[in-house]
Amino acid sequence: MTIDVRDPVRPAPMLPPVDVAPLRRARLRATGVQAACVAVSLFMALPIVLIGLAAVSSRAALAEFPKPLVPSEFALDSLLSFLRATGTLPALGNSVLAGLYAVFWSLVVGAPAGYALARHAFRGKDAYQMFILLVRALPIVVLSVPLATMFLRLDVYDTVLAVTLVHTALALPTTVLITASIFVSVPADLEEAAQVFGCTRWQAARRVVVPLALPGLAASSIFTFVLSWNELLGATVVTLGHRTLPAQVLTSLAEASVAYRFAGGFALILPALLFIFVMRRYLLNLWGTTLR
């Protein structure tokens, strides 16, 4: 009696050599992917580099032609005078506040709506979506005067709260739609399991759905923050002495000299870059390996 682990009944056939061509192909593909990534990265980053370089160029260097890529003369004075100007730092604070508040409120108000869209089929769903898009679709400039009047009457005019309200409302469609599209993909049975094990619907959503929908929440947070960070008109019409950064300085950018424009533009993007950097991890999903 035999134990045929190797099954000696059949003679071991001659094995062909290991074919590494697919590995080579894979490596080639990886290289291709990397090249594509680099190409896209260059396309995306180059303008940022340009504006960064321009922001630290001297005026003379900016006026050269043909321009060298690296400016011939560096100068920080535009950037610095920009930062030192009255109100820039408080405005920075206001912008951060308004941005974070808007992120918070748009999630609080928008995510439940997104959840409802994702989990329920109900009459009026399309109508709701259209309504929520209505606001985004109408150029906000035509709303500006009535809006300011309303805030004055409500006595929240010229506060970060007012800006937050406007920005939250502006970001709401994005939040609702993005979160809805993600919630749709979170399996319902997980939520059901959570409910069976003693969660309220709210707890089930918070403990199970939300962590799984993290990429979507991060995406919509990024949008909200960036929107709030760059939004100009709304912030301008509802504030006066408590401006956000764009309202404080962006107004002037269009009319300043190039050096200032670049300096201002660059200064405006820096904090947003930081925010994206933080949120990126959630978007790429920390638990990327665990979710599938």
């Binding site: 739609l177 993600i182 979507g216 190039v258 405006l268």
Partner: protein, 279 residues
């Protein structure tokens, strides 16, 4: 559990929107059709005879028609690159999101510095000896290059938006499905067409809707690059409201934008969707 009304969850958003924008919105709509004497179409007449309106409408539509598909394709491509998880993907990913952080105006400025007569692009061309004085990219005479520069700038500025939504959507698709498709002999293209894209539908729908609406709202880039040589509808709204102080005509333009936005949004909602019951 399905019985509880979803309206409870929708209510806060409805209230916020209605409270903040409802009344101003009604006023805007009324303004477009009213003057001291009551109902009138004079504002629309004024608009239609305006030499900027039709070009603006044409440019807007043209821009969206060109930019949107390119962005969508690019964003999906980029998202697929992310899915392939190459090395340094964290860094790449970050760079790809960076344009999000940049305000429209700054984006316009950046590309102006590139396409300007004496900008980086012409600098490059001249120093490489490819051209003597550079190309007049932004000249009002070169409608094509003007459109091209605006398209490039818009693609650069706003692809990240689509990209981020698509990536977020892809993150939640279980990998099983793609693996199954591979085993069953689907090539990359087939997998995309039959598995990834259909499962991505909700995200694509959202990306398309938002992108179209936001594209209809964007004009600072075009304005920074080409001035009023390349008028866009929203730019006209601003022009009428801010510079010409004519809220009525401005509202009329705004309503055109609104109609375009909602029309396309409705189209997407109807066409780009998963069939009922799928998933």
């Amino acid at each position: 559990m399905r019985s509880r009304s979803p309206w409870l969850l929708l209510l806060p958003s409805l209230v916020l929107m209605a409270a903040l924008f409802g009344w101003p919105l009604v006023q805007a709509v009324l303004a477009a059709f009213r003057d001291e004497g009551g109902f009138t179409l004079a504002h629309w007449q004024r608009l239609l005879t305006d030499p900027y309106f039709l070009p603006a409408l044409r440019n807007t539509v043209l821009l969206i028609v060109i930019v949107l598909p390119v962005q969508l394709a690019l964003a999906i491509g980029m998202a697929l690159l992310v899915q392939a998880r190459p090395r340094f993907i964290g860094g790449h990913f970050y760079l790809w999101c960076v344009p999000l952080a940049i305000s429209e105006l700054a984006a316009g400025l950046v590309w102006l510095s590139v396409f300007d007569n004496r900008g980086y692009l012409n600098s490059l061309l001249v120093s490489l000896g490819l051209s003597e004085n550079g190309v007049q990219w932004l000249s009002y005479e070169n409608t094509t290059t003007m459109l091209l520069t605006v398209v490039i700038a818009e693609i650069w500025r706003a692809t990240s938006l689509v990209f981020v939504i698509v990536v977020a959507g892809m993150q939640v698709i279980p990998r099983d499905y793609d693996e199954a498709a591979q085993v069953f002999g689907a090539s990359l293209g087939q997998r995309l067409r039959h598995v990834t894209l259909p499962l991505l539908m909700p995200s694509l729908q959202v990306a398309l809707i938002l992108r179209t609406i936001l594209a209809l709202q964007a004009f600072a880039v075009a304005q920074a690059l080409t001035g009023r040589d390349f008028p866009l509808l929203v730019g006209e709204t601003y022009e009428w409201y801010v510079n010409l102080r004519n809220p009525a005509v401005s509202s009329a333009v705004a309503l055109v934008v609104l109609a375009l936005s909602l029309g396309t949004a409705l189209l997407y909602l109807r066409t780009v969707r998963q069939p009922e019951g799928a998933r």
